[in-house]
Every structure is written in structure tokens, then in C-alpha cells.
């Protein structure tokens, strides 16, 4: 197993509620790891800990052997990119959106980032607000990819999409993984999607990791 994220005794509390309870987990630095479980179990919080949009109240997290506390958060967030559940276009064109992520990107670089997510170069000059839901989520993916991340965190990115664009999005991400340069941590509560995309699963239930292993193994134990 290659280095990646290691969580030890990670707890998160919000007010009087426990969001994560002494979680131990290992997320390898290759392939697709799914965080699977019911709504409210703590999947999104776990994901947000991995690029320090949140920090744990207790416990430690390392990335490639280095504590996240010791890493520059801005650099970490470019190494560990994130696509959110709802597409978050910024004001302006698609090119403007990509320029937020990489102000130094030239037009060729932007076209290449669109190509990687199967979007046409002609979209660069379109206002982001005019894109369809599927196109928007792909643009957000391209916007994240243009920063050159090693790892991609996906927080149910297809939950707001219809079946066809959702499948296209899955295919795009898996193609990127197959290119070999990207590790993915993918939140899903749809077990069919998990079976299509995941190499391994961390099952989160009641704020704890209850199962960890390859998808078929985990599914066999819980269904």
C-alpha cells in the first residue's frame, strides 16, 4: 500500500454533538477510495479534514507521512484538490473560473484542462452561469485539476446530476485515475455508484469507521 492519508484517533465535535468519534483509517495514495455510509455519518467532515478546511479536535492526520499541521495549508490544498457536492461557479466566464485556480495559466493550458474533463475548448468564453449542471461540475473539476493536484477529494459530486451526466462524470474521473497521476477519495451514499468507481471502501456509520477493505468484501459483510 502506498503512502496517503493516515488518521489516528480523529474526533470532531460541533457544539455538543460528536461528528467523528476516534476515527482510525488509512487512505492509500493510489486508486479510488470511497467513503460510504448514510447521510450525517461524518463523511463530508472526514473529507474536509483531509485538506484542512476543517481540523480535528483530537487525533492526528498525516499525508505521505507528514502531519497536516506541519504542511502549508495553501500548498496542501493545491496538492489535495476538492470538488464539492454542489457546483460552485465563480462570476464570469469559464476562463475566468480557471484563472482563479491558476492565474498564470495561458489559453492552451486552459484548453488542455477542459479536454481532460471532456469539455470543448469553445466553452472557455462562455459565461459559467449558462452551463448545464453536468457541464458546471466538469468545469469545477477542470478548475481543480488545473492546480495540478496529486489527490482529488470528491464530495458527492454527482448527487445533483441526472443519471447520464453523472455517469459521464464518473467516467471522466476514472479515466484520470487510469492515467495514473491521480488518487481519488470519493464520498458516495449510493452503493451502485460505489461498485462502479471504488477500488476500496471506508464505511462510516454513526461517526465511526465500521469497515475498511475492498468493495466486494465490505459489501458482502454489510448487505
Amino acid at each position: 500500500m502506498t503512502a496517503g492519508f493516515v488518521l489516528r484517533g480523529v474526533s470532531v465535535r460541533r457544539g455538543g454533538d460528536t461528528v467523528l468519534d476516534a476515527v482510525d483509517a488509512e487512505i492509500p495514495g493510489q486508486g479510488v477510495t470511497a467513503l460510504w455510509g448514510p447521510s450525517g455519518a461524518g463523511k463530508s467532515t472526514t473529507l474536509r479534514l483531509l485538506n484542512r478546511l476543517d481540523v480535528p479536535d483530537d487525533g492526528s492526520i498525516t499525508y505521505d507521512g507528514t502531519s497536516l499541521d506541519e504542511l502549508d495549508p495553501h500548498r496542501l490544498r493545491r496538492q489535495v484538490g476538492m470538488v464539492f457536492q454542489r457546483a460552485t461557479p465563480f462570476a464570469g466566464t469559464v476562463a475566468d473560473n480557471l484563472a482563479v485556480a491558476d492565474p498564470d495559466a495561458d489559453r492552451d493550458g486552459m484548453v488542455e484542462s477542459l479536454r481532460r474533463v471532456s469539455l470543448d475548448a469553445a466553452m472557455l468564453d462562455r459565461d459559467a452561469d449558462t452551463l448545464s449542471g453536468g457541464e458546471l461540475q466538469r468545469m469545477c473539476l477542470a478548475r481543480t485539476l488545473i492546480t495540478g493536484p496529486e489527490t482529488l477529494l470528491l464530495d458527492e459530486p454527482t448527487s445533483a446530476l441526472d443519471a447520464t451526466p453523472a455517469r459521464e462524470f464518473e467516467r471522466t474521473v476514472l479515466d484520470l485515475v487510469d492515467e495514473g497521476a491521480l488518487t481519488v477519495v470519493w464520498i458516495a451514499h449510493d452503493d451502485e455508484q460505489v461498485s462502479r468507481v471504488a477500488d476500496r471502501v471506508l464505511e462510516i456509520r454513526d461517526h465511526r469507521i465500521v469497515e475498511s477493505g475492498d468493495w466486494q468484501l465490505t459489501r458482502g459483510r454489510t448487505s
Binding site: R52, H74, R77, F90, V100, T147
Partner: protein
């Protein structure tokens, strides 16, 4: 023109009218109306009494500066009381009032628009601080609302590796614009839709209308500059407090304006 104590007493009929309307509509505001009017009257009488003392011959100007300092501190505390859910508003408001006061008073007195006396210093400082306080609360609430509404976008920017300051910048412009707009609209409508207080007061006091207009114009510009300075200091000061040192956006609650 002077107003007698009897005239003042008779004018309280207008407060009774307002309270009566509240009673008729069952608004439940009559106690508040009467309390507000009584409190304002007492506060004005106290201020008037202090001004009489300050304007007496031979009284040092330093007493007036002391009053200005007290106004600044009280206004910062009041702004904090009006918007308690905005984190760290007290020191930011204090800094904003100080900045607005410095800019406006330097222009007014440093450039000789008015002579620096107790008669000019205290009322002008009062105008600056009063308007700055309104701007502070407005800008603080707008900032809080905007950042709560746009939390997803701001976090998306942070997730792309932007610093909190860079992630906040596009939304700060909107906050500044909407916080300043009411003052700009008021300034534009002055003279057409309403006659502002300073000018009305001067005319009632027997000052020639043209002189009253000139004073009012200076007051308007003063208020505009105070609002702009305050709003930008408050916005910049508060933004720093909405992010942790490692650029995580703090949880924000929306507050009703």
C-alpha cells in the same frame, strides 16, 4: 428664533400622536415610543448643558477633545451592542471611528473649512461618529450575511489554495458597495426629496438660507467621507477575523438586519 419650554412641552403632543397610532393599530410600540422620546430629550438636554459649559469663555479646547474621545468609545460599544453576533466588532469599530474622525477632522480643520473651536469640533465629531456608527453596523451585518450566503464559493476558493484575503476579496466589493449605497442615495436626494437636518436647524435658527446650504453641503460631504472610510476599515478589519490563521472560514450565523 427661539423655542420656549412651553413650546417644547406642546411639541410632545406629536409623541402622543405617534403613541396613539401604535395603540390604535395594537403595535405594542407605545411604551418604546414614549421611552425613546423621553430618553432623547434627556440626552439632548444633558448634551446641551455640557455644550454650554464647553462654550464658556476661557474653557480649554482639550475638554472638547476629551468629549470626542468619549463619544468614540461609547459609539464603538454601542455598535458592538447592536450587532453582538459579529466577531471582534468592538476594536474594529473603534479603529474605524478613529480613521473616519482623523480623515474628516483633518480636512475640516486642517484645511480651514471651519475654525477649530469647541463650537465646531464637538458637533462635527458627533456627526462623524454618529454616521460612522450606522455605517459600521450596516457594513458588519452585510459582511456577515454575504459570507454566510457565499460560504460555498469562498470555501471553493480556499480549496483551490487561495489565502483567506484573496478568497474574500470579490465578496468584499459587494459588501462595500451595498453598505455605501444608502448614503450615496441619500446624498443624491438631498434638497430634492428632503431638507436635511443641519440646514433645517440653521434656517429655523435664523441663519441666512445660502449660509445654511453651504454648511449643509460640507456636512453631507463629511458624512459621505465618514461612511466610506468607516465601511472600508470595518470590512477589512472584520474579514481578518472571519478566517483562522490557517485560512479556514469560521462558522457564521446570519443576523437579521
Amino acid at each position: 428664533m427661539t423655542i420656549s419650554w412651553t413650546g417644547l412641552a406642546v411639541s410632545l403632543v406629536l409623541v402622543v400622536v405617534a403613541a396613539g397610532i401604535s395603540l390604535a393599530w395594537r403595535l405594542g410600540l407605545e411604551r418604546s415610543i414614549v421611552w425613546a422620546a423621553a430618553r432623547a430629550l434627556v440626552q439632548l438636554l444633558i448634551v446641551g448643558g455640557i455644550l454650554v459649559l464647553l462654550l464658556m469663555p476661557g474653557v480649554s479646547l482639550w475638554w472638547s477633545w476629551l468629549w470626542v474621545a468619549a463619544m468614540l468609545a461609547y459609539a464603538a460599544w454601542t455598535a458592538r451592542q447592536r450587532a453582538p453576533s459579529i466577531p471582534g466588532l468592538l476594536p474594529v469599530a473603534g479603529a474605524a471611528f478613529l480613521a473616519a474622525g482623523t480623515v474628516c477632522l483633518v480636512v475640516l480643520f486642517g484645511l480651514g473649512v471651519f475654525p477649530l473651536t469647541s463650537r465646531t469640533l464637538v458637533p462635527m465629531a458627533g456627526l462623524i461618529v454618529g454616521n460612522a456608527m450606522t455605517s459600521t453596523v450596516l457594513a458588519g451585518r452585510r459582511l456577515q450575511e454575504e459570507f454566510a450566503d457565499k460560504r460555498a464559493e469562498i470555501e471553493a476558493r480556499l480549496a483551490l489554495g487561495q489565502s483567506g484575503r484573496d478568497a474574500a476579496r470579490p465578496y468584499l466589493r459587494g459588501v462595500l458597495r451595498s453598505a455605501l449605497s444608502p448614503q450615496i442615495e441619500t446624498t443624491k436626494a438631498t434638497g430634492l426629496v428632503f431638507l436635511p437636518g443641519a440646514m433645517t436647524g440653521l434656517i429655523l435658527a435664523g441663519v441666512p438660507p445660502l449660509q445654511a446650504v453651504l454648511v449643509q453641503a460640507v456636512v453631507m460631504f463629511l458624512v459621505l467621507a465618514a461612511a466610506a472610510t468607516t465601511t472600508s476599515v470595518v470590512a477589512l478589519g472584520l474579514v481578518r477575523r472571519l478566517f483562522t490563521p490557517d485560512d479556514r472560514l469560521l462558522a457564521l450565523s446570519r443576523e437579521k438586519v
